[in-house]
Each structure stands twice: as C-alpha cells, then as structure tokens.
Symmetry: C2
Subunit: 203 residues, 2 copies
C-alpha cells in the first residue's frame, strides 16, 4: 500500500499529483509513470514537459470550424478541393481525425467542443453552436455526426432547431448494424433501428 502522506520527495509528490489528475490515471499508476520519467535522462524529462507545456500556447483553433490547428485556419478549411458547402458537425477533434482516416469524406467540419450534457453542466452556450449557425445557409448541407446516445440526440435536435430556419439541408449518420456484424450479437436498439431504417436493396 502506498499512501500519499509518505512520499519521500516533494518534487516526486507534485509530479504524481499532477499526473494522477489525468482521467483514468490513479495515484499508483501516476507514481509508476513518475518514477519511469525520473529514470529518464534530464533532457528527455525536459522535452516531455516542454511538449505538454506547449499545449497551452502552441495549439490554435481554426476560426471557421473550431478545429485544433497550427494557425487560425486549419488545413481542411484552407483546402480549396474540399466541398465547403458540406459541413460535418462533430463533438471533438478525435471525431474529425477518425472521419479523415476513412478517406470517405471530402466536405468540411464544425467541431462543437463537447456535447449538451446537463449532468456535466455543459449547455449550448459552452459549445460552438453560435459559430455553426453563422456558417449555415440555404445551399449548405449540415451532417449531424454526433453519438447516438441521449446527449447526442439532444444536441442534434437542439442544433436542428437553431439552423432549420436557414433552409439548409440537415442529414445525420446512417445508423444500423456494422458491416460484418452478426444479428445475434447486435444490441436490440441497434437491430431495431436498422430494421426501421431499412433501405432499398441495391444488387
């Protein structure tokens, strides 16, 4: 057992406390990680710290889509070959990276920076919904690519209400069984929806 009151060094304790502030990292894992870093050469430790420190000022956000960027415009918004009339609305940076990795999408994005969640105290004003509303027009398609849970659905509905007046086309991700999924292992909600949303068979 390791109790926080018997740390042999304040510097070590500070580092462990900082690392254990990360989500999913307990004080024991934090100590393991801190001692691992402690074993590294000083320059490696400095490099690690500098890389993290640079998150504060080194990361910018695209003024258009609010995506993490090196400057005030991200590479995607700056790319004239992308379809700027199709805006995919996602919760986070990770979603953009995931969709980009598919290579299937050629429009642009809008990063909300979160999802409406009263439990976590996240309201519409905490997200970049205003900036999205400012982007949409009658000739724009907005793809609501948010998670299928209650919070995702709530956020999608809220955004729809905000942008429908613009006359833009609003779509959402197709939901159903994953390719290769077997019916017997699918959860009832997914299976039920994929039946309800069945599509014409294209041989």
């Amino acid at each position: 057992m390791i109790s926080p009151d018997n740390y042999p060094s304040k510097a070590l304790k500070d580092a462990v406390e900082a690392i254990s502030s990360l989500p999913g990292v307990g004080s024991r894992s934090a100590l393991r990680l801190a001692l691992h870093l402690l074993k590294q050469p000083a320059d490696k430790i400095h490099h690690f710290a500098a890389a993290v420190d640079n998150l504060a000022e080194g990361v910018h956000y695209c003024r258009t889509c609010m995506m993490v960027s090196d400057g005030d415009q991200c590479a995607i918004c700056a790319d004239s070959r992308r379809d700027h009339k199709t805006i995919c609305v996602v919760e986070s940076v990770r979603d953009v990276m995931s969709i980009e990795a598919t290579g299937q999408y050629h429009g642009v994005y809008h990063v909300l920076g979160g999802i409406i969640s009263p439990i976590n105290g996240v309201g519409p004003s905490d997200l970049t919904i205003k900036q999205l509303v400012a982007r949409v027009a009658a000739d724009v398609e907005v793809i609501l690519a948010l998670s299928g849970d209650v919070e995702g659905e709530t956020t999608s509905f809220y955004i729809y209400r905000q942008i429908e007046a613009s006359g833009c086309k609003v779509t959402t991700l197709a939901r159903g069984l994953g390719f290769g999924d077997e019916l017997e292992y699918a959860d009832t909600l997914t299976l039920g929806r994929s039946i309800a949303n069945r599509q014409a068979f294209k041989p």
Copy 2:
C-alpha cells in the same frame, strides 16, 4: 481509426508523442489525455508541465540509502529513532513506500535502483550494491526484501556473496506472499507479517 499522420496540430502531435512514450500508454490514450489537458486552463497546463519538468532537478537521492529525497539525506536516514543497524534492501522507491505504509519496520533502507536482469541488460554495476557493501558491518542485519522471482533471487544471492564476508546477519522476507508477487501490490497485513517473520537467508 486515428493515424499519426493526420494530426491537425504539430503542438498536439508533439504532446501525444511525448505522452505515448510512457509505459502502457498507447497513442490513442495519449491523444485522449492530451486533449483532456488541452481543455484545461493554460495555468493548469503550465502547472502540470512544471511539476513533471521539476523531476529532472527537483528530486535528489539520499547519499546513504539512495532513496529519493528532497536533499542529500532522506527523512528515514536522518531519523535517530530508526534502527540504523538494520538495513532493508529493496529494488525501488515504491518498495520503501510500501514497507513504510505497513508501519511494521523501524530500521533503515537501501534502494538498489533496480534488479539484476541480463535480459534487460541490468548488471550488478548498474545497481547501488557497492554503496550497500560499504554500509554493512558485523553488527548489521541486512534484510533482502526483493521480489520472489528468479531475478529477485539472483540479485539476493549476488548481494549475499558480496556482504557475507563482513559477518553481517543476512535475512530475507518471510514468503507469506506468493512467489512472483511484487511488494507494492501486497496488502499491508501480509507485507507487515513477512517483515516481522523474516528468516535467515539460506543460499
């Protein structure tokens, strides 16, 4: 899927690469942690980075027992109430903290800083065995509190060979805990008892 070649920001990529250099942290978890930090206020990020950075110069080692310390002598070696004729030899700082947490031990320690492991390229000269040999005398008891696996036994035997000439008493932990168990994961009671029931080391 997130591929390392589609990071939207160099600063973010650097941070993710640094964090994923930690043991047991994959690039995906590293991204999750980096984005978590990114959401924090700048001063929190700086505080985190500073705490880690300080590991390089802020942590000192006790000149006697090689324990992590705030100065060149640790609190345990500086404590006159401890029995300085009983030296508990452990692999790492975590083991000292684990044993201290039991409250069963009132002697001092000697931190090897690792364990003899040819596979990992760790030899006797990489550990603080020389410093231990310099500490032992005929009126000293050395408790070999290393893990019960092959590497632990090998290290114990090597150290025994180095110090037996001094005529010191050499003991080892009672194996109340299963072989292969690591000290830090043992419960306080078991660990405390194995210190109390330590037995003469039989090579």
